[in-house]
């Protein structure tokens, strides 16, 4: 059967618009809300970061350390009337940028990088991972708690032992890609807003999203940076660990998708009582909760594997 009409490939039959590409068509059918944009709020009381301000002019506020300043023997200005020190010691290169009156986050970050010893990085990484983990668990709990009728959620996200849960759960609640380009946190992006969003929008969105969660998950896997870097307000400590984080992520153990979501839900229902405290760095509290969530989740998985066996048995029977 020959068609007289010319065949136009699917990507050319519309001049433009959502129907033109496969990706766009998928995107237009997915009920994705536009990403929640980070809101920057200028904190009162902090000086505005002007690009033209010379960073190294000491002000009246620096008088304390200027008086005590006995260093800098590598250079001496004419008016310097301090007695010359006889020992010559190399001074850190950043000695000029010690302006303590202004809490300049950029500089503080640099300073910390310069002075940090190598061993610290590993420690910080672990801490960061732990925090990430507890945060994700709490998020899971919330989703589960708020929606009991939703579709199976892949347990890829639920493994407690796999620290490679690099991509965040946040998208499933707010359906937002956290701005993946974690901006060098010169501003304190309020953790508060994130959580409030989670709490408020949970109920609305979770139901819609659960169906598409599966497909979304695959798209989300290559999410470059976890929210960990977003919430690192004043330090760059987590930058490096998060980068290593990413590598671990790629070696993710992918769990089977066949687990029933409902079982886990039951167990995790208890977790909805435990809301994440606004102070994420309050490790004392979170560790307790972590244990609870960890035990609960591990219990759930145990049950899951039990079920699986039953299923396979059932299959065999068939």
């Amino acid at each position: 059967m020959e068609t007289e009409t010319e065949m136009i490939p699917i990507w050319q039959n519309k001049p433009h618009g959502a129907a033109r590409s496969v990706v766009r068509r998928i995107g237009s059918t997915l009920p994705l809300k536009p990403p929640q944009r980070a809101c920057f709020q200028e904190l009162p009381g902090l000086p505005s970061l002007r690009p033209f301000d010379s960073p190294s002019v000491p002000t009246l506020a620096d008088i304390a350390w200027i008086v005590a300043d006995e260093e800098e023997t590598y250079a001496r200005v004419r008016s310097d009337s301090r007695p010359l020190k006889h020992e010559w010691r190399p001074t850190p290169l950043l000695v000029l940028h010690r302006n303590s009156s202004v809490p300049n986050f950029r500089r503080e970050g640099k300073r910390m990088e310069g002075l940090k010893k190598p061993g610290m990085t590993a420690l910080n990484r672990t801490t960061a991972l732990q925090e990430e983990l507890s945060r994700l668990r709490a998020q899971i709990a919330k989703i589960v708690a708020n929606d009991s009728d939703s579709n199976p959620l892949t347990p890829e996200l639920l493994s407690p032992d796999d620290t490679s849960m690099g991509f965040s759960m946040a998208p499933f609640e707010t359906t937002s890609f956290q701005p993946a380009t974690a901006t060098p946190a010169s501003f304190v992006i309020s953790d508060v807003t994130e959580e409030e969003e989670e709490e408020e929008e949970d109920e609305e969105l979770v139901e819609e999203d659960e169906k598409d969660v599966v497909s979304v998950v695959s798209e989300l896997l290559p999410d470059p940076l976890p929210p960990a870097s977003m919430t690192a307000s004043a330090t760059f400590d987590l930058d490096r660990p998060s980068m290593d984080f990413r590598e671990a992520e790629e070696d993710t153990v992918s769990l089977s998708k066949s687990t029933s979501f409902a079982d886990v839900m039951d167990i995790l229902k208890d977790m909805n009582k435990m809301k994440m405290s606004k102070d994420r760095y309050n490790r004392g509290c979170t560790s307790l909760r972590e244990e609870d969530s960890a035990t609960l989740i591990s219990e759930a998985l145990r049950k899951k594997f039990v079920l699986k066996e039953e299923d396979s048995v059932a299959v065999k029977r068939k």
Binding site: V57, L60, I63, Y74, L96, S101
Partner: protein
């Protein structure tokens, strides 16, 4: 402050000049270097001081002496490099390089020098001990630095100090021999202290210190930092802190401390913020910001400027009598380089029984200065630190330029607050009496004024339909062959004649016919000295007929020979006529007759 910096490196061969430059630029030590690198320009945003910087290398092998001298004359700062492990290179600093540079630069524009000790990685000890005497001996040497191009130690610091030597020189500020700030610097800082002392109690309290910090450094002063400041001063000076505030002594001590710790850029920042240039004079841009004044427009102070001047008056009126005694006035003008108001000002504006300028008189005089000479007014506002205290862009922010008079007349409406009245009259007709009466002085009081303190201006306020307006009276010299345009330009004209002098009116008639008969300016005839017996005027017609013929209001009787203050109605009339010149003259005539 300079807008860019040009650094020249000189020194004996093989000390490492080229290595230093290459290490700075590439951030690694080059194993092989050419004799000389080409001039390098570092853009502003990369340099610590945010100023574009040019770095010039020198090589004896590749450049002639002429080229060297040329580079020396072009440079803003010269780094004389020596190697710390090479004694000869150090000797050459004093016996060759410094003399050479001195010979090739003007005595008046000395180039700052930096002594750079390279190759500090090769020795255990410091060469500072050897070098410091050189710095003390030659006053052009600003800094001595030790660095290592190989280990990349202190390279950027070196260039930072080079920039600093140009942008923040120590020379004008401090005298290392006397270990004290130089007199000009002290004078400038004292003035800054006085301007910042908003309540004039001789100390900078917490609010004032906070304001000062914000004005100079754009950052607040946390409570802890405030305490630090006071503690440091308290520890080192007996009377640096008084009633929990910083005294002038303490303030000067703080700056000495900054300078003595090598942080004189702080003091420069403060000085520059308050309008000083590198010679420690108030710079012209600060004192005379551009202000466009189209023709036919006038200048007045705006509301913010009045508020500021009120606060200046309050701050200096120590005895709270709403008048400025001579001492208080002197204190007020202490921040000026000269005394701007002479004794004639006391006779231009309202004053109290002692002859001291009152609060209203103070503001009136400022209004007069703004109206007649706005550039001078800007200068005065600069001395008072208006733009800093009122947090405005420049002194010009305190001035309102009114719209052209033509447009006011067209629209039959004016937004102006100051109106000028030129007063004409023959000698002895009573013009001065008319002016002084406006200031509330009767004849008896006027007789007490000294000849040399007399003024040809009088300014005060009147109320027109509930609005307060300024009326500026200007007594014009009665030689009408020499009347200038300025004498002509005004909002209303007064023609004064002496009712007891038969020849007095003729002058007024002549002036009117020559200059004002065909102009739109409203005119008013004043029959002065009306307390004296009236005589017939030797002129063609009587004053009343004259006024009627030329559609002027009838002559207004006036006398300043009263027991109490003279009557002020006439001035209100004048101001009203100046505000509404288009109103039917007939109406004014009728109204004026009734009031008469």
């Amino acid at each position: 402050m300079r807008k860019d910096v040009r650094i020249l490196l000189v020194g004996e061969p093989k000390v490492g000049k080229t290595s230093l430059i290459m290490s700075l630029v590439s951030e690694e030590f080059p194993d092989v270097v050419p004799y000389r690198v080409e001039e390098i320009t570092i853009p502003a945003d990369v340099t610590p001081e945010r100023v574009p910087t040019h770095i010039v290398d020198y090589s004896e092998a590749e450049q002639t002496d002429e080229q060297l001298f040329q580079e020396i004359s072009k440079a803003n700062v010269i780094c004389i490099v020596y190697a710390v492990n090479n004694k000869k290179s150090i000797e050459k600093v004093t016996n060759h390089w410094i003399p050479l540079i001195t010979e090739n630069t003007d005595k008046d524009s000395r180039v700052p020098l930096i002594l750079v000790g390279n190759k500090s990685d090769l020795v255990e000890h410091s060469s500072m001990e050897t070098i410091l005497p050189i710095m003390n001996q030659y006053s052009e040497v600003e800094t001595c630095v030790e660095c290592s191009a190989k280990n990349l130690k202190n390279i950027s610091e070196l260039f930072y100090y080079a920039q600093k030597a140009v942008l923040h020189p120590t020379g004008p500020l401090y005298c290392p021999e006397k270990k004290d700030m130089k007199p000009l610097c002290v004078k400038a800082l004292t003035r800054i202290f006085k301007v910042s002392d908003l309540d004039n109690d001789g100390i900078l309290n917490d609010n004032e210190l906070n304001f000062f910090q914000r004005a100079c450094f754009n950052s607040p002063l946390e409570p802890q930092a405030l305490e630090d400041v006071k503690n440091v001063v308290r520890k080192n000076l007996i009377d640096g802190v008084h009633y929990n505030g910083l005294t002038l002594k303490g303030f000067l001590f703080l700056h000495t401390l900054f300078i003595q710790r090598g942080r004189h850029e702080t003091t420069w920042t403060v000085l520059r913020r308050f309008g000083y240039d590198d010679d420690l004079e108030l710079n012209q841009d600060y004192l005379f910001p551009p202000l466009k004044l189209p023709p036919d427009c006038t200048t007045e102070l705006n509301h913010n400027a009045y508020l500021f001047l009120q606060s200046v008056f309050d701050k200096h009126d120590k005895d709270r009598d709403c008048a400025m005694s001579p001492d208080e006035l002197r204190d007020l003008f202490d921040v000026f380089p000269y005394m701007p108001w002479g004794p004639d000002v006391n006779n231009t504006v309202c004053s109290n029984e002692q002859g001291w300028i009152t609060y209203q008189g103070f503001l009136s005089q400022w209004t007069l200065t703004t109206y007649l000479d706005v550039q001078r007014c800007l200068e005065y506002l600069g001395y008072l630190g208006y733009s800093i205290i009122a947090e405005q862009e420049s002194q010009a922010a305190g001035i309102t330029v009114t719209r052209a008079k033509k447009i006011d007349l067209q629209k039959k409406q004016t937004q102006r607050n100051v109106f000028r009245c030129n007063v004409f009259g023959d000698m002895g007709s009573g013009k001065s009496g008319f002016l002084q009466a406006f200031l509330g002085r009767n004849l008896v009081r006027q007789k007490m004024i000294k000849e040399e303190h007399r003024s040809y201006y009088a300014i005060s306020t009147t109320y027109v339909y509930g609005q307060e307006k300024y009326l500026l009276l200007h007594e014009v010299f009665p030689d009408f062959d020499y009347l200038t345009d300025a004498d002509m330009a005004c909002d209303i004209v007064c023609l004064v004649y002496d009712v007891s002098n038969p020849y007095s009116f003729e002058y007024c008639a002549k002036v009117f016919k020559q200059y004002f008969m065909d102009s739109k300016t409203p005119c008013m005839m004043i029959a002065a000295k009306s307390d004296l017996p009236e005589v017939k005027q030797m002129y063609g017609c009587s004053p009343l007929e004259f006024c009627r013929k030329h559609k002027m209001p009838p002559p207004q009787s006036f006398t300043c020979n009263t027991a109490a203050e003279p009557n002020r109605e006439i001035y209100t009339k004048l101001t009203t006529m100046a505000m509404y010149p288009y109103v039917c003259r007939h109406f004014i005539c009728v109204k004026a007759c009734r009031l008469n």
